[in-house]
Each structure stands twice: as C-alpha cells, then as structure tokens.
C-alpha cells in the first residue's frame, strides 16, 4: 500500500510527464494540493460533500416523510423522536431539512449551469472584439446590474408566476451580469498579450481565438466567482421562498420554512431557526470553498 501510494505521488510529481493526460493529472494534483493547504476550504468542501451525500440518499436517511402531518404532535420541541422538533402541522423538521437539500442543491446547480456559459461568452466576446459589440453587450449587462438582484428576481417571478422553476430562471437572469463583466475584464487584458498575437499570426479565426484561447483562460476566475456567488444564489432563493414566490407549499424549501417559522418565533423557536441554520451553514461552506479555490487556481502563484 505504502509503495503504491509512493509510486502514485512520484507519478503525480515527476518533472517529466509522459503524456498529455499525465500532465493534466499533474495539474489537477497541483491545484488540489494548494486547495488542501487551506483547512477552512477543506471544511467547506466537507460540508458541501455532506450536502450532496444527503441529497442523494435522503430517502434512506430521513426518519419521516417530509409531508406527513401529525396534528396531535404540532410544534413539539426537539426531543429524541423528533431531533429538531416538529412544525405547526406536526411534520418532522429534520426530515424536511434533509429533503430540502435536494431543492437547494438543484437551484445552485441549475443556476450555475445557466449562468456560467452565458456570462463567459458574453464577456469574452465583448472584451475581445471591442467596438460597438462591446458597447451594446455591456449596456445590456449594465441594464441588469442596475437593479438590486432580489428586486429584479421578484419582478420576474411576479410576472411569470410563483414557482420553483420560475425562481430559478429569475435568479439566473440576475446572476450572469457580474460574470460577464469579470470575463470581459479578463479578455481585455488577454487580447493584446503576445500569445494571442502569436495565434493570430497563425491565421486563426476570431471564433477560434475567443473559444479556444481566451475563454479557457477566463474559466478559473469565473469558477471562483460562481462559487462565491452560490451563497448569494442560495440566499436569493431562500428570500424568494420566504416571500412566497419560490417553492410552493408543501415543498420543504428552506427559505419558505423560515417564513412559516416566523409566525411561531416567540414560543417555538426551532421551527424557523433550524432551516435558517442550514441556510447559514451551506452559504458559509460555499464561501469558504470559493476563497480556497481562488488561492488554488490563481495562475500567478506558479
């Protein structure tokens, strides 16, 4: 075993990689080692991995159904049967929080998948081509940026009708402009670099330069930005849920749970506090991971 792991380390750190995939593995290893040197980042990663684990295996983990009402046991304080207590309809709060992890995670994943490519492409095209295309794209971006993101999301959900899917679309609409600005700034500094000139001197098309040479170099900072934004995404989703414009009852969305808990805050503190603590923990975890990723992916450290 120890010989094996030594061989693996040597393989990952050798000065002379033997193939393209070997070199790629070494790169990943290097990023991971820098990431792992940050204990807070590791803590955040553990929490996120736990969240993913729970989201996958929640049918086997949750002690009760998230929807099952028990009107004889409403607003029960945390005890051995209901570890986090029950809500006003007698539903087990722990089970609801565990099931809610699926909703939170899917919001975060879908929003990132929508936002990252749009922001990256808009930003890189604007930054590389410049001129009127830049002006048009950036004015559109600023149009979206000029509203507070929660207000804009509220307006969209109100127009589209309250539901989880519409909340996701609304959040995505508010989240791409910062990514686009970031990618544009990166492209602006990249486009006059000599290695881009060198590719241009090979006769490469503009499309090839943007997609093959500029966009990949913007990806690390976009990943970092999105990870840091995930906390904001979760909070916006929770905010929409709290206002009754996101996930609809009885679905166990954390923000909506906090909203119901507000009514019983004085005599049954656990109803609102427990989902609130979940939101806090997960947002914090994404922030910690984002910070650690920023250090790990920073090419200037090489």
């Amino acid at each position: 075993m120890s010989i094996d792991s030594k061989g693996l380390t040597a393989w990952l750190t050798t000065e002379e990689p033997s193939s393209a995939s070997h070199a790629a593995f070494q790169n990943v290893w290097l990023v991971w080692r820098r990431f792992a040197s940050n204990p807070l980042g590791i803590a955040g990663l553990m929490i996120i991995l736990l969240l993913v684990f729970v989201a996958i295996f929640v049918p086997w983990l949750a002690p009760y159904s998230p929807f099952e009402q028990n009107l004889r046991e409403t607003l029960v304080a945390p005890n051995s049967q209901h570890l986090l207590g029950t809500d006003e309809l007698g539903r087990d709060i722990l089970s609801r929080i565990l099931w809610g992890s699926r909703i939170t995670l899917s919001i975060v994943a879908i929003v990132s998948v929508i936002v990252a490519p749009i922001g990256l492409i808009v930003g890189c095209v604007a930054g590389y081509y410049g001129g009127w295309l830049d002006t048009v794209l950036m004015r559109i971006t600023e149009l979206f940026l000029s509203f507070p993101s929660l207000i804009l999301a509220l307006a969209f959900v109100a127009a589209l009708g309250p539901s989880l899917n519409n909340a996701i679309i609304a959040i995505a609409l508010t989240q791409w402009p910062p990514i686009a600005r970031l990618a544009r700034a990166e492209s602006l500094s990249l486009r006059n670099r000599d290695h881009i000139s060198a590719v241009r001197l090979m006769g490469a098309s503009n499309l090839r330069i943007v997609l093959g040479h500029i966009a990949p170099l913007c990806v690390p900072s976009v990943i970092v930005r999105i990870t840091l934004n995930m906390a904001g995404i979760i909070l916006t989703a929770a905010g929409l849920g709290f206002l009754g414009l996101g996930a609809q009852p009885p679905s166990p969305e954390w923000g909506a749970m906090v909203s119901t808990g507000r009514r019983f805050m004085l005599d049954s503190w656990w109803v609102g506090t427990m989902p609130g603590l979940s939101i806090l923990t997960v947002s914090l975890a994404f922030n910690l991971v984002g910070d650690a990723l920023r250090d790990a992916l920073d090419p200037r450290q090489e």
């Binding site: 000065e15 002379e16 193939s19 290695h195 590719v199």
Partner: protein, 269 residues
C-alpha cells in the same frame, strides 16, 4: 534606400510605411514614412532606442498594427490589404518575452500542434518532432507547461512553433533581450544555425548594437519613427556612420560597456 548591388528580387519590400495610433487629437505617428528592402537569406537589422517604432514595423508587416504604405510586398505578394493563410505560412514572428508568447495553460506539444491544426499542416507530428530537434529541445519536455521551463527553453519552444509552418521569413522582435547573457548567445547561435540549414530570411529588431553586429549584414538605424540611415554592419562597427544620431547611439552603447567590435564575432558559416 534599396540596395542596388543586389540583383535578386527583395523578399520584403516596403516603401513609405506609416503607422498611426489613436484618433483625432490623440493621434500619434509611431512610424512615419519608412522604406527598406530585405533580400532572401539575409538578416536585416532594425536598431534604435525604445519607442523609435522598430517593433511597430514588425507588427505592421504582420497586420497586427493598422498601417498604410505605398508598397508592401512580402514574398512576392502585395500584403497591404489582406493577409491570407499563405502569408502566415511564409511569415512567422518570434516575440521578445517568451513567457508572454506561449499559452500559459498549454503543454509544449500543444503549443506546437496549434499552428499545425490552424493551418492544416500535414504530417504535423513528424514536423513537431523535427522542429523540437532542430531547436535542441529534449523530447522529455514535451508534456511540460511553459512555467516549468527556463527562459531559454521557452524561447526555443517559441522558435520551434514559428518553424512549424516551414516559413521563409522570421520576424525577430528582440528575441534575446528578455534572456540572461549566456542564454542570449545560445539563442543567437541557434538562429544562425537555423538560417544556414533552412535558408531563412530574418528581419531583426534590437536595441543592442552588439546583437545586431553579430547577426546582421545590413541594418537600419531608427529614431522617432523614421529611418535615420541604412548601412552595412561593417561600417557601423568601424565608425563609418554618417549621421549624428547613429554616432550618438554607438557612443552611448560604448559608454554602457558594449563596444560593438568586442561583441561582434565573425559568424561561423
């Protein structure tokens, strides 16, 4: 300007090249009316202080800087308006800072294969290996990234990449000024060897009279966007400069401790 005693058609012929940056009140002429000709197989130097417009001429030839000229013929084609893939096959450039000039996230092998892919070069792999061999790089370095190489190795990679399309002309933009002195000599000798092997034509920009004296037969001295004079390097080294500016440049270089006569070694050919 054009050297009349050469019978062959010049491979680069430029007349009255003007490059302007900015618009309106900010307009600034980087190059104002430059003419010269370079013959096949020759190394032609462009010397001058920083900001004299010498690098801009290279960028104008490649089309990276917008320009106007009465005549701009490169390898027999008029390139004033559009440069096709044929042009880029024949003309390649080596940049000043080799770290800047290589894609930071591509392996050495990918750096070499990129021009092959863009220009649809057949037998790219064989050419890649040949290019690496001819610049004296070990195959063990194939899968490394630029940041894992030394400055001299990086510049060798950049030269190998420029050779992938088997060009006729290499534009050298201060190819050694970012390197250590000992490495500078290696790269210059490599360039000389490549020229002998492949019959390349070099148009070389430098602020270093020693480097120019070592590499070039003829050189143009530039100041403030114009060519002050064009002269043989023999004349430059032996005090044959006629213009005051050239004399000042030589004097400054000597005061800095670089007598062109000391550095100029006869080229082994």
């Amino acid at each position: 300007m054009v050297n009349d005693n050469m019978t062959s058609e010049p491979i680069i012929e430029i007349q009255n090249l003007v490059v302007t940056f900015g618009e309106g009140a900010d307009e600034r002429r980087a190059v104002s009316g430059v003419s010269f000709a370079v013959h096949r197989g020759e190394t032609f130097g462009l010397v001058g202080e920083s900001g004299s417009g010498k690098s801009t001429i290279l960028r104008a030839i490649t089309g990276l800087a917008a320009n106007e000229a009465d005549v701009m013929r490169v390898a027999g084609a008029d390139v004033r308006t559009r440069r096709g893939k044929d042009f880029y096959r024949k003309v390649q450039m080596v940049f000043q800072d080799p770290y800047e000039a290589l894609h930071p996230r591509h392996t050495i092998w990918r750096q070499l294969m990129e021009p092959a892919r863009i220009m649809n070069i057949p037998d790219a792999e064989a050419r890649g290996h040949a290019a690496l061999d001819s610049v004296g790089l070990s195959r063990a370095l194939l899968w490394r990234y630029p940041h894992q190489l030394s400055g001299g190795q990086r510049q060798r990679v950049a030269i190998a990449r420029a050779l992938m399309s088997e060009p006729d002309i290499l534009l050298l933009d201060e190819p050694t000024s970012a390197l250590d002195v000992s490495v500078q000599a290696e790269i210059l000798n490599l360039l000389c060897d490549l020229q002998d092997e492949r019959g390349l034509t070099y148009l070389m920009v430098s602020h270093d009279l020693g480097v120019v004296a070592h590499m070039c037969k003829r050189t143009a001295v530039m100041h403030a966007g114009i060519i002050v004079e064009t002269l043989d390097v023999d004349a430059l080294v032996n005090g044959g400069a006629t213009q005051t500016y050239t004399k000042r440049l030589i004097a400054a270089s000597e005061a800095y401790g670089e007598d062109p006569r000391d550095i100029a070694q006869p080229r082994a050919s």
